[in-house]
């Protein structure tokens, strides 16, 4: 059976009435949670994880696909109408989007974001359907040493590309790696860093880490700045629609955003900050005449491009997740945990062992995306009402769900205690400008890196040179070396030039 046939079977399975309802629930919950300020897609999925515990794998993954895209849509609404954006991928959207809303063009901003997300999401999912099986086919031949190289590359690209300072990215990564160490070593059973606590032998629950970092950490951080913060909802007048001119100004940025967002999701570039920013910079540069002058005051291109890039990026991140089992963003990391809770390990073999499930998932990404367009624009007034929930209740509700999510997975008080500790770490990270995502990636991929490392050395019987065997490993390590060496070198040269011109 070819991949296209598989995709059709996938559609059949996703559209089966029993399954479609989960798509609907997912889209609804995803948008609902995504709209709430302070909740990004990673946290949204983390919070909704317990819900899927009692659902069949296929239905749960259909729901996740819908939640994944739903949370992104919801997030863009919040960033356009609120002066404080909820999640990192929407920061750029907020720059122009909120200005547009204040100028009375909220409807157009919401429309271009929603339709742009739909266009980008559909195109990117199509690319995903083509790229992921190919990558998986290639990855089947990759040796443990190659996987180790891939993970190390992901560590450093995620660590150094995020946040204002590289050293703080590496710091976040290493804290995550320490969290990943806790518990029994998989091969020898040696107990590490539990300090005699038997609850910790199985390690720290990943969902607890994610929920605590994103929810409790954020709540504590908001509390620490409570007196100094403000927020205003910009009212929407009229309907979420675009006129002819706005359509004309939007469609090219949508396509360019997709072209920027998708590849940067596939390679581990660490989340959606980089692609959304690149898209914004591109649109600003390409704009001409009076459109250019609107940048900074509410240019529609500045909403259309980054929103498309954001969604295409989210689809792109699913490629390495499905084909290699490697999450490259915090959100993808949560989806990985969702797979694992059903004992399904994403990776090269997934397309061979579970084709029906993967293709149902991909098909439901298409369906979810379409449902969102239908559900969101006409009902935008309903979603906006969520922004008016009084802040004390909103934050108390987020805390309640985070605590529930932390406990319910294993019915464990120890998990909750850890949630409080990790939540405080999340606060400290925000307070001291340390990015969160590298820590999540470190905690999840750290144990995997150790596993591949040990396998490689075991096969070679102690010979470390095999770590660099093969074209893939060599090129990855060369790429890493360049990534580490080039920026300081560039700065040095620039400084040298400046000195010589003085």
């Amino acid at each position: 059976m070819g991949n296209f046939d598989y995709l059709l079977t996938g559609f059949e399975s996703a559209l089966a009435s029993g399954n479609l309802i989960y798509g609907f629930i997912g889209v609804f919950l995803g948008t609902l949670v995504g709209v709430l300020p302070g909740i990004g897609p990673a946290l949204a999925i983390g919070l909704l994880l317990p819900i899927t515990l009692t659902v069949q794998p296929t239905q749960a993954l259909i729901m996740f696909a819908a939640i994944y895209y739903g949370a992104m849509y919801g997030g863009s609404t919040t960033s356009i109408l609120l002066n404080t954006p909820g999640e990192s991928g929407s920061v750029i959207t907020a720059v122009e989007g909120n200005k547009m809303a204040r100028a009375g063009k909220a409807g157009a901003a919401l429309a271009t974001a929603a339709i742009g997300s739909f266009v980008a999401g559909t195109l990117a999912t199509l690319l995903l359907a083509v790229a992921a099986p190919q990558l998986a086919e290639f990855a089947i031949q990759v040796q443990p040493a190659g996987f180790l190289a891939l993970i190390i590359t992901a560590f450093f690209t995620v660590g150094t590309l995020l946040g204002s300072s590289r050293i703080r990215g590496v710091l976040a990564l290493s804290v995550g790696l320490v969290v990943g160490l806790i518990g029994a070593d998989l091969q020898t059973g040696s107990i590490r860093l539990t300090f005699g606590n038997n609850n910790a032998i199985d390690g720290i629950e990943t969902v607890t880490v994610i929920v605590a970092l994103f929810a409790l950490g954020e709540i504590l951080y908001l509390a620490s700045r409570f007196k100094h913060s403000e927020w205003q909802v910009t009212p929407v007048s009229g309907r979420a629609m675009m006129n002819k001119k706005e359509w004309k100004r939007s469609w090219k940025p949508w396509l360019r955003g997709t072209a920027i967002g998708f590849p940067l999701g596939v390679i581990p570039a660490g989340g959606s900050e980089v692609p959304t920013f690149l898209s914004y910079a591109t649109e600003k540069k390409l704009a001409k005449g009076e459109n250019k002058e609107e940048f900074g005051k509410g240019a529609i291109e500045g909403v259309a491009g980054p929103e498309a890039a954001n969604n295409a990026n989210a689809a792109g991140a699913l490629v390495p997740l499905l084909a290699l089992g490697l999450p490259t963003s915090a959100t993808a990391a949560v989806v990985l945990v969702a797979f694992q809770s059903y004992n399904i390990q994403p990776g090269p073999l997934l397309f061979v062992t579970n084709p029906n499930l993967v293709w149902a998932l991909i098909a439901s990404l298409f369906i979810g995306n379409t449902l969102l367009l239908v559900l969101n624009l006409p009902f935008i007034k309903f979603w906006i009402k969520l922004l008016y929930i009084p802040r004390p209740y909103l934050y108390a509700g987020i805390t309640t769900f985070a605590l529930l999510g932390g406990y319910a997975l294993n019915s464990s008080i120890f998990d909750l205690q850890m949630a409080l500790v990790v939540g405080f770490i999340g606060y400290l990270f925000r307070r001291f400008g340390v990015p969160i995502t590298p820590m999540v990636i470190g905690a999840i991929l750290g144990p995997l890196a150790e596993l591949y490392y040990k396998r490689t050395i075991q096969i070679s019987q102690g010979d470390h040179s095999v770590l660099f065997d093969g074209l893939l490993t060599k090129s990855l390590y060369t790429f890493l070396l360049l990534l580490i060496v080039l920026p300081p070198l560039y700065r040095l040269i620039k400084r040298g030039k400046q000195n010589s011109t003085k």
Binding site: L173, V175, V178, Q187, G189, L220, R225, Y395, A396
Partner: protein, 173 residues
């Protein structure tokens, strides 16, 4: 040298310093690790040593950054904004109510312990109408409890209130 470091920078020094200490703890824990006799190609010590080294170097790196006057900018704050002292009172109430939730959950059941933490967090964020807030907390957590336990089959600790409400509803508890 410390005189050049701002108020916020001093907090960051303490933060990086404690991560430095954690890296030492990892070294120490790895050093005294019990390793089984069977012959394995890679010791379970290798990877933790690497991790501890990276953490050690990164925390020193941050200390150097701060000492050079490049303290971090907190998330969502423009670099030019003046330093703001953290609102420890609000934070304290929240940490306290979450702690209370953790302590009470398996003692008083879900509804009471979750209502207390909901109440605490909402109070910390400025909700002033105590009685109304208390009522909302109880209704909210009751709804959460029953939607999760009945519709989603997720087990949450029960106690007097849960049993009482279940009794009202007849045999569905």
């Amino acid at each position: 040298m410390l005189s050049k470091v701002s108020q916020a920078g001093k907090g960051e020094l303490a933060f990086a310093g404690s991560l430095f200490l954690i890296s030492l703890v990892v070294f120490w824990d790895t050093h005294k690790l019990v390793i089984p006799d069977n012959n394995v190609a890679v010791s379970p010590r290798t990877f933790p040593y690497i991790v501890a080294t990276v953490l050690l170097l990164a925390s020193i790196g941050v200390v150097i950054e701060v000492l050079r006057g490049r303290a971090a900018t907190p998330e969502g704050v423009a670099p030019s904004e003046p330093f703001q002292r953290a609102d420890f009172k609000t934070m304290g109430i929240i940490v306290g109510s979450i702690g209370l939730h953790v302590f009470l959950l398996e003692r008083t059941g879900y509804i009471i312990s979750a209502a207390i933490s909901f109440w605490g967090v909402a109070y910390a964020f400025g909700s002033k109408k105590m009685l109304r807030l208390g009522l909302i907390s109880l209704i909210f957590t009751t709804v959460v409890y029953y939607s999760f336990t009945t519709f989603l089959d997720i087990q949450l600790p029960r106690w007097i209130i849960e049993d009482f409400i279940a009794g009202l509803g007849g045999s569905n508890g």
